[in-house]
């Protein structure tokens, strides 16, 4: 196991297309998959999985599966795709059983996976009879003071499966007060190192404080600082948008310290630079709280007074 994987904020459910045979099998997983629950679903073999699964499903005779018919199950997977909850295991798939292929996947990837094979598979992967639904429960809080690379590693699957990331924290300054590159900027650099084609934009909301931070004294100095810090990195295709704001009103409170993606919301007990000794990060399960935060910060519907707004774009891979 990689030393940098402190713990995980998500798991990956990898199941054989032939594993589901009964309605009770389906019920064990149906309500637990999705970024909101912290469970990604392995699209393995990529794109073929769903075809093989459908083929199996059509032989099952699912007339008695309450409201679940084949079309609804298909729509369920479309919905997972739309929520970016399908994940590739990035491993080749050869012409042998799903279970044999699965065992070939590298161990680092497998460490995050909960696998379910078909019944009585000779490879010994658990089947639905042995599978305990609690195994895909993901803790929603992790307590640790993270280095930038550790925090990115912790949330890597979320960052790789979103169109945008919004970071809301009054202390998200690019430099320290004495002008050194901040841990927050290093955190963004680590996100850029993921080099995700899917990630289109990073939006950063910070409290405007030109007295303490020189780079916020003018839009030119902000532009220059963004260039200085990120010019060695390929940016998301629509750039990094840095917004310095005047805090006002409870809804626009930048004290809340959030990392928001298109599908998930994380609350941090301390700023990313980390002023306190303790730090915790919580994945918010409440759908309404999540939706509200995503609408405000990802869809940019927040009505907050912006002082400077600057975007940095660099599509050249160094």
């Amino acid at each position: 196991m990689n030393d940098l994987v402190i713990t995980s904020m998500n798991k990956i459910l990898a199941i054989s297309p032939k594993s589901v045979e009964k309605y009770t099998d389906w019920l064990k997983i149906a309500s637990r998959i999705g970024q909101a629950s912290g469970v990604f679903f392995a699209d393995y073999p990529k794109k073929k999985w769903i075809i093989d699964f459908n083929s199996k499903l059509s032989t099952l005779g699912i007339e008695n599966w309450d409201n679940w018919n084949q079309k609804k199950i298909q729509e369920f997977f479309i919905s997972l795709k739309n929520q970016n909850s399908l994940i590739s295991l990035e491993s080749p798939y050869l012409d042998k059983s799903w279970e044999s292929n699965y065992l070939e996947i590298n161990s680092e990837r497998k460490n995050k996976c909960i696998a379910i094979g078909s019944r009585n598979n000779p490879e010994g992967i658990q089947d639905f009879d042995k599978f305990d639904p609690m195994d895909i429960y993901v803790e929603d809080t992790v307590e640790k003071k993270f280095k930038p690379i550790e925090l990115v590693n912790l949330l890597k699957d979320y960052f790789l499966h979103t169109g945008k990331i919004a970071i809301v924290d009054r202390n998200c300054y690019l430099t320290t007060p004495n002008g050194q590159i901040s841990d927050f900027a290093k955190f963004i650099q680590e996100i850029l190192k993921l080099n995700s084609d899917r990630l289109g934009q990073i939006i950063i909301y910070v409290k405007h404080d030109p007295e303490k931070y020189d780079f916020l004294k003018s839009i030119d100095s902000l532009n220059q600082t963004l260039r200085d810090i990120f010019s060695g990195f390929k940016s998301p295709c629509w750039g990094i948008k840095y917004i310095s704001c005047i805090e006002a009103g409870a809804e626009m409170d930048l004290h809340r310290r959030m990392i928001v993606t298109n599908h998930s919301l994380f609350l941090l007990s301390d700023s990313i630079p980390g002023f306190n000794k303790s730090q915790s990060i919580t994945r918010v399960q409440s759908q309404s709280a999540r939706e509200k935060a995503i609408s405000l910060w990802i869809d940019e519907k927040v009505e907050i007074e912006k002082v400077f707004e600057s975007s940095f774009l660099n599509m050249i891979k160094n």
């Binding site: 794109k47 769903i50 075809i51 298909q74 729509e75 997977f77 479309i78 795709k81 739309n82 169109g163 945008k164 084609d197 899917r198 990630l199 289109g200 934009q201 998301p236 295709c237 629509w238 298109n262 995503i294 990802i298 869809d299």
Partner: protein, 536 residues
């Protein structure tokens, strides 16, 4: 040719707040019915009309459009709206043959002799108008012209604040003003601009004067002369921008394929391609007879060509077929060939329908006696379009099922090298065909050669969108196959979202290089079909 980059609207139809609408190689308009998607097409129609000379004599049609499209909230007596656009001049632009070259010469300081490239080429220009109805009539209440790096002109025509400001730019011909600057008392020079008062006497603006210059200012002769000089520079600057809009952006190829279209009738599949013959001073036919002057032809024209994009298609076909282009060059340009490729490869693979054109000279052969027969491209021509099936039988478009009849005007528009403006291309098409049309749209766009080419499509079809998104994902693989692959940054997806106050807001939904949306679809993505995602 300059390229349209964006449209700006404010208080226009359902759009209340000022909005900048980006226009890309492909712009897709989505949103529920009644959200005002057609505002984009209407705005272009209006700007085209404003910048044209069509309202020189009778402005009633234009004023009716002002009245119809200005947003009406509460006070219908105080109607006002904003409309504008930005366009980019290409890095190489042949100005020598520009019809408004004389305007350019007046505005740009000795432009042809000097290097105008820094001030003109590769720049984006913006014009924005605020139009208001007062107790007198409609008028331009403000005009702003700027480039991406500098302001050029501002005119304000408010009740209590009337001025014309022209910014002091190297390339603007301020020679006269500079020479007499010391004598000016009325013309202010501060913050980098000259400013003079404008006296507004009400009344509708005219095509040749968007603001009046005939309201004599106070002051002695030299002061009046100076102001008049500045006003002329202002008028010329506006005229230059208008000239570009008129002749370069809104050229004759602008036709909307509207959502209420029907299958073209046999009459609508016939068009007249204009040409001319020449008659010398001795009376020998050689020059001077222009098709538009013939009553017969005008009458014919009025009964034909009701679908403008068909008309354009026929004209291009007739022109190229009878021009001196080699067959190889013609193949590259032939719009009917382009459409046939799509019919054959993408849309109607099974039944082999192909569009054919029958080109006939329209004039009586007695009339053309003496015309050298090696100038056939100059004869007026009647072009007839019909289909051939796989057995080579000629069939009327009406007789082959309505699907192809509805889709052909769309293809005719897409085959156009310049602008393609289309409402609901999916009309009456089976979902599978909608998906195939998505591929066809991408194929046409990727093979357009003009810098200024763009396509705007209003649609409700998720099949078309998903297919386009899939092609965006594989754009890099087509680098050697097409002229310009449709990459993620060349697509604008605009969602018209109704808001609580009854107006509409426009949100741009962007793609990533994988062809996926990075912005969330308002209210959740619509009901996609399974195969769009998981079919290989």
């Amino acid at each position: 040719m300059p390229k349209l980059v964006s449209i700006e609207l404010e208080n226009f139809q359902t759009l209340r707040k000022h909005v900048v609408i980006p226009i890309s190689e492909l712009t897709l308009l989505f949103g529920p019915n009644g959200a005002g998607k057609s505002a984009v097409f209407d705005a272009l129609t209006l700007i085209k009309k404003i910048s044209s000379n069509q309202w020189q004599e009778d402005s009633s049609e234009l004023l009716n459009l002002f009245k119809r499209w200005a947003r009406k909230d509460n006070n219908v007596d105080d109607l006002n709206f904003g409309i504008g656009l930005s366009f980019q001049i290409p890095s190489k632009w042949g100005l020598d043959n520009h019809p408004d070259m004389f305007r350019l010469n007046k505005v740009w300081m000795s432009s042809l002799d000097n290097d105008y490239s820094n001030s003109l080429l590769n720049r984006t220009f913006r014009i924005y108008l605020k139009i208001n109805r007062s107790i007198y009539d409609w008028s331009f209440r403000s005009i702003e012209i700027s480039s991406d790096i500098e302001k050029i002109l501002e005119l304000k025509n408010d009740d209590d604040d009337n001025y014309l400001r022209i910014y002091d730019l190297d390339w603007l011909d301020f020679n006269n003003l500079r020479k007499n600057k010391a004598n000016f008392k009325i013309i202010k020079y501060e913050n980098g601009y000259y400013e003079c008062p404008i006296q507004w006497d009400g009344g509708t603006p005219r095509t040749n004067q968007w603001f009046r210059t005939d309201s004599f200012p106070k002051g002695d002769f030299s002061e009046r002369e100076s102001i008049e000089e500045m006003e002329l520079i202002g008028q010329d600057t506006i005229h230059f921008i208008r000239g570009i809009l008129n002749s370069e952006i809104f050229n004759e190829t602008w036709h909307l394929v509207d959502g209420s279209r029907t299958v073209p009738t046999p009459l609508q599949t016939i068009a007249i391609a204009p040409g001319k013959i020449y008659r010398n001073p001795d009376g020998e036919i050689f020059g001077g007879h222009i098709i538009e002057e013939s009553t017969l032809l005008i009458n014919l024209r009025q009964s034909l060509n009701t679908q403008a994009n068909w008309n354009h298609l026929c004209k291009e076909y007739a022109y190229h077929k009878s021009s001196s282009l080699s067959s190889q060059e013609f193949d590259l340009l032939d719009p009917i060939q382009k459409i046939n490729e799509i019919l054959r490869d993408d849309l109607f693979e099974g039944n082999g329908y192909q569009l054919t054109g029958d080109v006939k000279c329209l004039l009586d052969f007695d009339e053309v006696e003496g015309v050298p027969d090696y100038y056939p491209s100059q004869y007026p021509k009647l072009v007839r379009l019909y289909l051939k099936d796989k057995l080579q039988n000629s069939v009327e478009i009406e007789d082959v099922g309505s699907g192809i009849g509805y889709v052909l005007p769309v293809l005719a528009s897409l085959a156009n090298e310049g602008a393609s403006l289309i409402q609901q291309p999916e009309l009456h098409l089976h979902p599978k065909l909608q998906s195939a049309l998505g591929s066809a749209i991408v194929k046409f766009i990727e093979n357009k050669t003009y810098f200024s080419a763009f396509t705007i499509i209003e649609t409700h079809s998720e099949h078309i969108l998903l297919k386009i998104m899939r092609h965006v994902r594989s754009a890099q693989t087509r680098e050697k196959e097409v002229i310009s692959p449709l990459t993620f940054d060349k697509v604008s997806i605009l969602y018209f979202e109704p808001v609580a106050d009854g107006s509409t807001e426009i949100r741009r939904l962007r793609l990533n290089p994988l062809g996926e949306l990075i912005d969330r679809w308002p209210g959740g993505f619509f009901n996609e079909r399974f195969s769009d995602y998981f079919d290989e």
